[in-house]
């Protein structure tokens, strides 16, 4: 399988801040590749290198067979980029924005309409409306249409679902799935762990470093211990008690429950007694399947996890 992106040892500093440390990864042609990590992990910096807006300090990146620093002119014709911040002209209408981006790429909306029709049809009824007056979900669809209008071979989406409602998010991922039939490789970043499952492969990124790259299922399977979900009426009391219990390895809140791992295979009676002693009588402990977030926290290291 040929590669859309091959990155080897990319480093980038901003003054004293190390934004990216030795970033290496490959993106296969036609896949949806996700970068999952919290804010400040370096996702946007990496994306700006991929889109030729930023030069790496060290390392090399080959995109669509071209060197990212030397072949940037040719690359810009083949990359579609949707920055994290909405960057279309707010004082132009939906239609004017789309026509404008088509024309600066030397193409016409009609030529590539079938590529965007699925997405654009949602906002076409509002084509005379100023982009600044659109809702978050509609802005996102317009931005995606504009990024696609020149039929790029690589689509780079920086946190496309941030600030978008749940329904629009689901819709958006469905649109991305459909784009695969047009042989477009998609690189996407998100701070939402639950969206990782929608990618073909994901890289977990933290503090400018890639922790792991794998299929989402493999990442979940990579969780090294048995994970338990604990619940009690006094959730905070339970959290404190579990943290104090000497046999626990990691404890962190997860939705309405608490995810916990133990140094022994199975929590024994000593735990129940410990909890009773701390006034928690109704604790329920069930084994549960680890998610991406659990694996992410495990990779971040036990020490940091305890602090959460």
């Amino acid at each position: 399988m040929s590669k859309s992106i091959e990155s080897t040892g990319i480093w980038k500093n901003f003054g004293d801040t190390q934004a990216l440390k030795d970033i290496s990864f490959d993106v296969n042609e036609g896949e949806i590749f996700g970068f999952i990590g919290p804010d400040g992990a370096g996702k946007t910096t990496l994306f700006r290198i991929i889109t030729t807006l930023l030069l790496p300090d060290r390392g090399s990146m080959t995109i669509l067979g071209l060197d990212s620093t030397k072949g940037f002119k040719k690359l810009r014709e083949n990359i579609g980029y949707m920055p994290g911040r909405f960057s279309l002209y707010l004082d132009l209408t939906v239609e004017e924005n789309l026509n404008f981006y088509a024309s600066v790429f030397g193409t016409r909306v009609e030529d590539n309409y079938e590529l965007i029709s699925d997405i654009y049809s949602h906002i076409e009824p509002f084509k005379k409306r100023l982009a600044g007056k659109l809702s978050g979900g509609m802005k996102q669809k317009l931005a995606l249409s504009c990024a696609l209008i020149h039929r790029p071979r690589l689509l780079v989406l920086d946190e496309p679902t941030t600030g978008v409602d749940a329904v629009s998010r689901t819709e958006f991922w469905e649109m991305l799935r459909k784009l695969r039939q047009h042989d477009i490789t998609i690189v996407v970043s998100t701070p939402y762990m639950d969206e990782a499952i929608r990618c073909d492969r994901v890289a977990l990124i933290q503090s400018g470093q890639i922790m792991t790259i794998d299929k989402p299922q493999n990442i979940r399977d990579g969780f090294s211990r048995k994970l338990f979900s604990a619940k009690a009426a006094d959730k905070y009391g339970l959290l404190i008690a579990l943290r104090e219990y000497p046999g626990t390895l990691s404890v962190y809140p997860f939705g309405d429950s608490i995810h916990v791992t133990f140094s022994e295979e199975k929590p024994d009676k000593a735990l129940t007694e410990f909890l009773l002693k701390n006034g928690i009588t109704d604790a329920v402990l069930n084994e549960t399947e680890a998610g991406i977030e659990d694996r992410f926290l495990e990779l971040m290291g036990k020490d940091e996890t305890r602090k959460l």
Binding site: R48, T51, T52, S87, Y89, Y101, S103, V104
Partner: protein, 371 residues
């Protein structure tokens, strides 16, 4: 080329989508001309003069009536108290105090030199100089009258060396005619400089430039597209300003209109180039405005619109060689008042073109398509 056209079309769409800016860019030149041209003038219509006549003879009354007859002076008060007169000067009510000492008439009658004293309020040195010049003109005139009436021979001598003067290119020394070409220049400069620069920085602030930067649009295409709309608007403003000048102030227009537009077009490229250069280095609109203001003030005040370039120190004149407004000021006045032709202003046009090329090249070079 097609790309530039699309980019320019987008700029025009955005400029006129802003309802206020769309109207203001054509309204402002009219208002500016109507206010500034009559307002900025060096002419002294009436200097308030206070006379201390301690002589009270027909001679002193003759001088006073001469002053009274001049359109430049208004006799505020005649008094014999020096204290009162000085108070008027202190309280800024009088511009000049003219003291005619007793014995003035007698001295004149006996042929001895007579003395008078004038005190001029020089808070504003420009007004003081002009008032003084007018006053000495009236006194000289009066002097002449006496000489002629007392001595027919002297009158003949006067006739033999008659001095007349004529002010070329602006015969009536009409300051409106002097200021108008300059104000036209400033108006064009302000519109182009501020609007174009702000427009560019706004793209940075809003983030739209990031989306443009990943497109294959070339640097020179982007900068050109930012210049052309404001060049066109600047020239339309110039046409509006000229029309106002002709209709309202009946400005004489000696030279070629085409040449005037050529000069302004080159100037606009220089001003826009500088504005875009500054904006490529600014991150926010405030930063841009701060630097732009600095340049505008220096360029305009040093342009020679108010003070002649020749009276500036040599180092300042050297700096002015890089000041596009100074060239424009000269070109406008030469064409409009003197009717200079292309070959007369060739040197200025070449220099202005060089500045335009340098500023534009700097802007294109400094604009980065990478962050």
């Amino acid at each position: 080329m097609r790309t530039i056209l699309y980019l320019i079309k987008k700029e025009f769409l955005q400029i006129f989508r802003d309802k206020f800016i769309g109207k203001a860019i054509f309204g402002i030149p009219i208002i500016q001309m109507l206010i500034l041209v009559p307002a900025i003038t060096f002419e002294i219509k009436s200097s308030e003069i206070c006379i201390i006549d301690n002589d009270r003879t027909s001679e002193s009354r003759g001088l006073i009536s001469k002053l009274d007859g001049s359109p430049f002076f208004r006799i505020l008060q005649s008094t014999s108290s020096e204290k009162e007169a000085n108070e008027l000067l202190y309280s800024d009510k009088a511009d000049i105090v003219l003291h005619i000492p007793s014995g003035f008439g007698k001295d004149l009658g006996t042929g001895r030199p007579a003395k008078i004293m004038a005190s001029v309020n020089a808070i504003n040195s420009m007004t003081a100089q002009l008032s003084w010049a007018y006053l000495s003109g009236v006194i000289r005139d009066y002097n002449l009258d006496i000489a002629i009436s007392g001595n027919p021979e002297a009158a003949n001598a006067m006739a033999a060396i008659g001095i007349t003067n004529r002010y070329w290119y602006n015969e009536m020394l009409n300051y409106k005619h002097y200021m108008l070409p300059g104000i036209l220049g400033i108006l064009v400069a302000a519109i182009g400089f501020v609007l174009a620069g702000l427009n560019m920085v706004k793209e940075k602030e809003v983030g739209t430039i990031e989306q443009i930067n990943v497109t294959p649009v070339r640097k020179y295409q982007f900068i050109t597209a930012k210049m052309v709309p404001f060049l066109v608007i600047g020239l339309i403003d110039l046409a509006i300003g000229l029309a106002v000048g002709k209709l309202v102030f009946d400005i004489p227009f000696e030279g070629s209109i085409l040449l005037l537009f050529l000069g302004s077009a080159i100037f606009l490229v220089a001003a826009l180039g500088l504005a875009l250069f500054v904006s490529t280095m600014s991150g926010t609109q405030q930063q841009f405005m701060f630097v732009a203001f600095f340049f505008m003030i220096i360029f305009i005040l040093m342009s020679g619109i108010f003070t002649p370039l020749e009276s500036m120190p040599v180092w300042a004149q050297k700096i002015d060689m890089a000041n596009p407004v100074a060239y424009l000021m000269r070109i406008n006045r030469m064409i409009m008042l003197k009717g200079s032709t292309l070959s007369d202003i060739r040197g200025d046009l070449f220099a202005l073109t060089a500045i335009a090329v340098i500023f534009t090249a700097l802007a294109i070079n400094r604009y980065r398509k990478t962050a």
